[in-house]
């Protein structure tokens, strides 16, 4: 058995190769972007991530004191306010990002999965925020839960996802849904980095004149080894 054969059977080496292929090194954190990336609309994707950071941080801080402490603590109430407003900003940024991507038909060029992960993350965020409203242990929770049960029960979901059970809702809010959402967000970002920012509708890349091209025209990152023979054709 040769060393190459041994490497083929090595699970660690295979995982490493898979990770490298998922996002080639040059595409993970490139210091250049296609020249067409020069609109404010591109800021809202990263602003959504920034807002998510504050949602998570304020959620962690609220969790330290338990479920009801924020009703009687000024610090707790302020943290709740930070949590609320970061969620509002998160949705504002995500909605603008979403409509921007729709206007750009950003699913083109093999980016359907990028759209799907983003769309599912949007719907998942609504569910996560909803369970947060059910976990407040105040009048809002009482009213929203007693109203929401009817819709969920009508389609059979309420038999398993009981909005009148604050214990179940809190665990969904702080463990299950954020975990799923986290995976979706990571996948979404990986797909964005892997495929790059979608080119303008009907745009054609300029003809490549490799020997004399100026510095500003070089590609954002080297193509993956598998892509090189075909994509580098002039």
């Amino acid at each position: 058995m040769t060393s190459t054969d041994r490497r083929k059977g090595n699970w660690t080496a295979r995982l490493g190769r898979r990770l490298d292929n998922a996002v080639p090194p040059g595409r993970r954190l490139p210091d250049r972007q296609p020249a067409y990336v020069r609109s404010w609309i591109y800021v809202f994707g990263v602003a959504t991530l920034a807002a998510l950071l504050f949602v998570l941080a304020s959620g962690f801080a609220l969790a330290i004191g338990g479920t009801t402490w924020w009703h009687t603590s000024a610090v707790g109430h302020f943290l709740n306010s930070v949590h609320l407003w970061s969620v509002e900003l998160f949705f504002v940024c995500m909605t603008i990002h979403l409509w921007g991507k729709f206007a750009m038909a950003a699913w083109r060029g093999g980016r359907a999965l990028t759209w799907i992960t983003g769309a599912v993350a949007f719907v998942g965020s609504i569910g996560t925020a909803f369970t947060g409203y059910l976990s407040q242990t105040n009048f809002d929770s009482q009213w929203i839960s007693t109203q929401a049960k009817d819709g969920l029960n009508a389609v059979g979901i309420g038999a398993f996802f009981n909005v009148l059970n604050p214990g179940q809702m809190l665990l969904w809010h702080i463990v299950l849904l954020p975990s799923v959402l986290g995976v979706l967000v990571v996948l979404h970002v990986i797909l964005v980095r892997r495929k790059g920012v979608v080119p303008p509708i009907d745009a054609e890349p300029p003809a490549r004149e490799l020997p004399s091209r100026p510095l500003e025209s070089r590609p954002a990152v080297p193509s993956t080894p598998a892509e090189t023979p075909t994509r580098r054709q002039p």
């Binding site: 954190l29 210091d31 250049r32 296609p34 020249a35 067409y36 609109s39 609309i41 800021v43 991530l49 920034a50 924020w70 009703h71 109430h77 302020f78 306010s81 930070v82 949590h83 609320l84 407003w85 970061s86 900003l89 949705f91 729709f102 206007a103 750009m104 060029g109 093999g110 759209w115 769309a119 599912v120 925020a129 009048f139 009482q142 007693t146 109203q147 819709g151 029960n153 009508a154 389609v155 059979g156 038999a159 398993f160 009981n162 009148l164 604050p166 790059g196 920012v197 979608v198 080119p199 509708i201 745009a203 054609e204 300029p206 070089r218 590609p219 990152v221 193509s223 892509e227 994509r231």
Partner: protein, 310 residues
């Protein structure tokens, strides 16, 4: 497959276009600072709503006639929870989505007997030192279900005409033990002990408030309070929250359907709205594969605002 894909989608590889310097990390750090400042500013200026929950004792204090009417309704089997169907009981088959009885098929997974769980059992638990209540409960449990319903319904009709009739004392004109049960129930609710007797019936620890919340929602008081905060179902209530706060505006489409016909007048409104929203969500998620819809951006040309030719 690849050939077919190429025919449909000729979008070139993004990495073949000219580039310019772009600092992703700097952009992220600036975004964190700006969003952080905005968040703290909004939190500091506007704070957040926190209207206290309604306890069953407060309900009894502020709307005693409603507590009595609700208890009698539970005994008569006419309240929302008593007639609900799955997942609480088999009193009805529940809503349908076309031919699909999803509510029924999911089954009774949180069994609730409204008369017994909300009224009779809690009173039984505190009846040891109250001979009149013990006698009333014995009379109630010894009667046939038809007799029980007849007593409770007659008294419910009286309360519907004269909500404060319970203050007149234990009348016995065909109401059986119901007047005594109702007034003792109100007294128990006023002590604040009712909630723990209902919610903690089987365990020391409980985080499941299904039964107290169902009971509270069976009354009119919860909705009366909610409507003063513009939270009613016909007031776009699902997306609002107490006070002048934005609430959940991202639920506008879900709430919207409840405001218009046929949903606003349908007995199957919840199932229909959920069915419609699930279909729309599927469309939203699979936009890239839906002919026509995926071409909308080309037609509306909003992308020209993003990619300007200058």
């Amino acid at each position: 497959m690849n050939a077919a894909k190429t025919r449909r989608d000729k979008t070139p590889d993004a990495h073949l276009f000219p580039t310019r310097p772009y600092d992703l990390v700097k952009e992220f750090v600036i975004a964190v600072v700006v969003i952080g400042l905005l968040t703290f500013l909004l939190a500091g200026i506007f704070s957040s709503p926190d209207k206290k929950s309604i306890s069953l004792a407060q309900w009894a204090q502020n709307a005693p006639a409603d507590v009595v009417a609700t208890a009698v309704g539970e005994l008569a089997g006419t309240t929302t929870s008593a007639t609900y169907g799955p997942p609480y009981n088999n009193a009805s088959t529940g809503q349908k989505l076309g031919p699909l009885s999803l509510q029924k098929w999911a089954g009774v997974r949180q069994p609730v007997n409204s008369a017994n769980d909300f009224v009779i059992r809690p009173l039984h638990d505190v009846s040891a030192a109250d001979p009149a209540l013990r006698a009333a409960l014995t009379q109630w449990t010894g009667a046939s279900s038809q007799q029980q319903t007849a007593w409770a319904q007659r008294y419910a009709d009286l309360l519907a005409r004269r909500p404060n009739a319970y203050l007149a004392g234990p009348a016995r004109l065909g109401f059986g033990p119901v007047p005594i049960i109702a007034t003792r129930y109100l007294a128990l609710a006023r002590t604040g002990a009712l909630q723990s007797l209902i919610a903690g019936k089987s365990a020391f620890y409980t985080s499941n408030l299904t039964e107290p919340l169902l009971l509270l929602a069976d009354g009119a008081y919860l909705e009366d309070v909610a409507r003063t905060d513009h939270l009613g179902g016909d007031q776009w209530g699902m997306m609002n929250e107490t006070g002048n706060y934005p609430g959940q505006p991202w639920m506008w489409l879900y709430t919207f359907w409840y405001q218009i016909k046929p949903f606003s007048t349908s007995g199957n409104a919840d199932a229909l709205v959920w069915g419609l929203m699930m279909a729309l969500t599927a469309v939203f998620v699979f936009v890239p594969f839906i002919p026509g819809l995926r071409s909308v951006p080309r037609w509306i040309k909003l992308y020209k605002l993003v990619w300007r030719r200058d």
